[in-house]
Amino acid sequence: MEGGQEMSATLFVQQLINGISLGSLYALIAIGYTMVYGILRLINFAHGDLLMVAAYAALYGMLLFSLPWFISFPLAIIATGAIGILLDRAAYKPLRQAPRISLLISAIGASFLMENLALVLIGGVPKAFHRPNCFSHVIIIGGLHIPVLTIYSPLVTLLLVLGLLYIVFKTRAGKAMRAASRDFEATRLMGIDLDRIIALTFLLGSSLAAASGIMWAMKYPQINPFMGVLPGLKAFIAAVLGGIGNIVGAVLGGFLLGLFEILIVALLPDLAEYRDAFAFLLLIGVLLFRPTGIMGEPFIE
C-alpha cells in the first residue's frame, strides 16, 4: 500500500468506516450484556450464542420455508428473544438466591449446551448464509469501496438504540427496569413484578443480539455453531469499556472497540495474527486504570 499520501488517506477512511460498521455490531450485543448485568449482576455467557441462534433461524426461515428476508429476519429476531426468556427461566431463575459463582457456572453450562446442541442438530460444517441481493451492492465513492451493508449496520443500530432508549427512559416498564438495576430488593417491595421486568430485559437484549447476529452473518456469510463465542466475549469487553450497566456506554464501547480492532490491524499489519488478543489486553488495561469504564459511575462498596 505504498500509493502516496492520498492513497493512504483513502485507505484510512475506508478502515474508519469498517471500524464503525464492526463497532455497531459489537454495540448491539453489548447492550444485552449491560442490561442483564445491570439487573442480575450476571455475565450472561450464553448471550453470544444467541447470535448463532438468530443466524440459523434467519437462514432456515429463508431456506426451509422460503420466506422472503423481510419476514424471515424479524421472525428470527422474535424467536431469539423468546429463547432469551427461556434461557433465563431455565438456567438463571432457579438460582436467584444462590451464590454468584453458581449463576456464572450455570451461564457457562447453558452456553456450551446451546453450542453443542446446535452442533448435534445442524452439524459442524459451516453453512453459507444466503445474503439477500439488496444487501450485496457495493457503493464506490471517490476510490472508496463501501458495501451497503457497512452503511446499513450502523444505521440499523442507531434506530434500534433510539427505540430501546425510548422504552427504557419513557415507558413505565423502562422505569421499573431502571429501578431494578438501582435497587433490586426495594423495587420488589414497591410491588413491581420483577420476573416480568427480567423477562422483558432478556427479550430486549436477546432481540438486539439477534439483529446483530443476522447482520454479522451477512457480513461474514459462513455460519457455524461457535460463531457467537468470540463476538460475544468482545462485546462484553465493549460493555465493560463503556461502563457496565450503562446502555449509552455499551454503545460507545462497542463503537470504540470496533474502531480499535480495525485500526490497530490497519496501522500495524504485522500484528494481524494477534488481533483477537487485543480486546482482552484492552480489557486488562481498562480494569487496571478505570474499572468503572468510560461512562460508569464510581464504584462504591
Binding site: R100, L104, I105, I108, A110, L119, L233, E273, A279, L287
Partner: protein, 369 residues
C-alpha cells in the same frame, strides 16, 4: 450472599473422642500409598495399553482438578484460564525435553529461536521448568486479575487463556504456530503421572489445612470480614494462584508427553470447561470431590463414546451422533448446578477422622445405651 461467617476448625483441634491418633493416621496413609503403589505396579506390568492410558488420564485430570479447585472452590474465585497455564506448561516442557535435531525437523516455516535450538534437558527438569514458567505467568497476571472479583475476574482469566492460545498460534519461532509440535518422546508413564497427582494432592491438602488455607476460606466467605481480621487477600490469593498454576503447568507437561503431539487447538476454553465440570460435579471446595470428579470424568468420557458410535440393536442400526458427548456433559453441569449445587461431596473431605467418626457413629447407633 452467605451471612454466616463460618470457619471450619483446624484439623488438629478436631480429634473427636474415639478418632484415630496421629500415629495411626500416619500408618494408614502409608498403607494407602503402598496400595496405590501395588495397583500401579500391577497395571504397569499386566494392564493393557488402553487401561494404562485411562489411568494416566485420570492421574493428570486429578492433578488439574485438585489445583483448579484450590482457586475456584477454596478461594472462591471463578478462574476461567487454567487452559492458559496448561498450555504454557505443555509447551515449556515439550520444547525443553525435545532434542535440537527433532526440533529442527518440526519447525519448517521458521527456525526455532536461540536458546531453544541448542538446549535439551531431562524430562524431570523440563517438568519443573513447566511448573515454574506457569507460576511465573500466574505471578505476572495476578496483578490485574486479583484486583477484581466475581464476573470481572472470570472474564479477565478467560481472556488470559484466550491470549495464550492466540500467542501460541502466532509466535511461530517459539511454538511452531498452528502446526504444533509433533513426535514428543512418550516420557509420561503411570509412575510420573500418579506421582505428580499424589504430590499435588498432598501439597494442596496441606496448604488448605494450614493457616493460609483458613485465610483463603475466610476470604471466600466474607472478604471484608477477613480483611478486618487482618488477612491480606491479595497475598493469600496470590499464593493459591501460584501453587495452582505450578501444578497445572506440570500437568500440562505430563499431558504433552502422554499424547506426544501438542497444538494450540488443544488448549481452548473447552479444556477449562471440562475441569469446571469435574470440580462442580465433585463438589466445589472439596479436594476429595475434585479427585472423584476427575476420575468420573475420565471414566465417563470413555463410557460415553458409545453414543457417538453406531449402535446395533438387533437388525436396527442407530447411527452415532458426533458431538453428543459434549451435549451430555453440558447437561450434567447444568443439572448439577441447578438441582444439586453441592455436587457429590459438598465441601466435605474424605479423611481418616471423617471415616472413623462415621464408623463410631454407626457403632453408637447400633448399640443402644
Amino acid at each position: 450472599m452467605g451471612n454466616s461467617f463460618y470457619l471450619p476448625r483446624p484439623k488438629a483441634a478436631a480429634n473427636p473422642a474415639g478418632g484415630p491418633t496421629a500415629g495411626l493416621k500416619r500408618w494408614l496413609n502409608a498403607a494407602l500409598f503402598f496400595l496405590l503403589f501395588g495397583v500401579l505396579f500391577l497395571f504397569s506390568h499386566y494392564g493393557s495399553g488402553y487401561q494404562v492410558r485411562i489411568l494416566n488420564n485420570i492421574a493428570i485430570f486429578i492433578t488439574l482438578a485438585v489445583s483448579y479447585n484450590l482457586i475456584n472452590g477454596v478461594c472462591g474465585l471463578l478462574h476461567l484460564g487454567p487452559n492458559g497455564f496448561i498450555a504454557i506448561g505443555a509447551y515449556t516442557s515439550a520444547l525443553l525435553a525435545m532434542s535440537p535435531a527433532e526440533k529442527n525437523l518440526n519447525f519448517i516455516l521458521s527456525n526455532v529461536i536461540w536458546p531453544l535450538n541448542v538446549i535439551q534437558v531431562p524430562f524431570a527438569v523440563s517438568l519443573i521448568a513447566a511448573g515454574a514458567m506457569a507460576a511465573l505467568f500466574a505471578f505476572l497476571i495476578s496483578f490485574p486479575v486479583l484486583r477484581v472479583r466475581g464476573d470481572y475476574l472470570a472474564i479477565v482469566t478467560l481472556g488470559f487463556g484466550e491470549v495464550v492460545r492466540v500467542v501460541c498460534n502466532g509466535a511461530q519461532s517459539v511454538t511452531n504456530g498452528p502446526l504444533g509440535i509433533k513426535g514428543l518422546y512418550p516420557h509420561t508413564n503411570l509412575w510420573w503421572s500418579w506421582g505428580v497427582a499424589a504430590l499435588s494432592v498432598v501439597v494442596i491438602q496441606r496448604l488448605i489445612n494450614s493457616n493460609y488455607g483458613l485465610a483463603m476460606k475466610a476470604i471466600r466467605e466474607d472478604e471484608t470480614a477477613a480483611r478486618a481480621m487482618g488477612v491480606d487477600p491479595f497475598r493469600r490469593l496470590m499464593l493459591g494462584f501460584l501453587i495452582s498454576a505450578f501444578f497445572s503447568g506440570i500437568a500440562g507437561g505430563l499431558l504433552a508427553h502422554l499424547i506426544t503431539t501438542i497444538s494450540p487447538g488443544l488448549f481452548t476454553f473447552l479444556l477449562t470447561f471440562n475441569l469446571l465440570i469435574m470440580i462442580v460435579v465433585g463438589g466445589l471446595g472439596s479436594t476429595t470431590g475434585a479427585i472423584l470428579g476427575a476420575a468420573l470424568f475420565a471414566w465417563g468420557g470413555e463410557a460415553l463414546r458409545v453414543v457417538e458410535q453406531p449402535m446395533q440393536i438387533g437388525p436396527l442400526t442407530i447411527p452415532g451422533i458426533p458431538g453428543m458427548r459434549m451435549v451430555i456433559f453440558s447437561l450434567v453441569l447444568l443439572l448439577v448446578i441447578l438441582f444439586a449445587r453441592k455436587g457429590i461431596m459438598g465441601r466435605r473431605e474424605l479423611s481418616w477422622d471423617f471415616l472413623f467418626s462415621k464408623l463410631a457413629g454407626s457403632r453408637r447407633a447400633k448399640t443402644p445405651s
